[in-house]
Symmetry: C2
Subunit: 102 residues, 2 copies
């Protein structure tokens, strides 16, 4: 385990009229993630204005990239993602925290 961990930030492109449905569906998928080894925390953010380019951004922290990939390889998760793709295009990217306050 990497003590610093890794941050998976997923920018979702979602049609404005599909955001509510997507959030509900995301909640179910997150239940699978939070039970996975190496999961630390996750926050799904929703834009305050409908004009924002990115309506939804998820920020999730994991112990390591390996732990995250193992969780995403789970068949139940894969099936949930397949359903979600009808509503949104995800852009998941791994990040390191380079500056942090406080």
């Amino acid at each position: 385990m990497d003590e610093k961990g890794v941050t998976l930030i997923t920018v979702f492109e979602v049609a404005p009229d599909r955001v509510d449905a997507f959030v509900e569906q995301w909640r179910e998928r997150a239940e699978l993630m939070r039970a996975a080894p190496g999961f630390r925390d996750a926050r799904l953010h929703r834009a305050r204005t409908a004009e924002a380019r990115f309506q939804l951004i998820n920020v999730a922290n994991w112990d390591s990239a390996e732990a995250m990939e193992a969780a995403r390889a789970d068949p139940a998760f894969q099936e949930s993602v397949r359903l979600a793709l009808e509503d949104a295009v995800p852009h998941p990217v791994l990040y390191d925290v380079v500056v942090e306050y406080p």
Copy 2:
């Protein structure tokens, strides 16, 4: 003060060879922010791969949109942003946390 607060997520478009310089410059600007009333926390994330569409994403939590706007209106902050714009195009958007784990 809004107890839930608000999250400012800024996606930066930065040329790969300017990322290091930008991070240093961002650190100075963040020093101005952390001293501002209503500031909670901030994390600057850097992509692990140079191919990622968004090399840098800042996630900052504030007590309220008003507190954040007051901090950004500070002349010292404005000057710092002006310098940063030579390196990066920021896309700041206000978000609410709609799902959170744990």
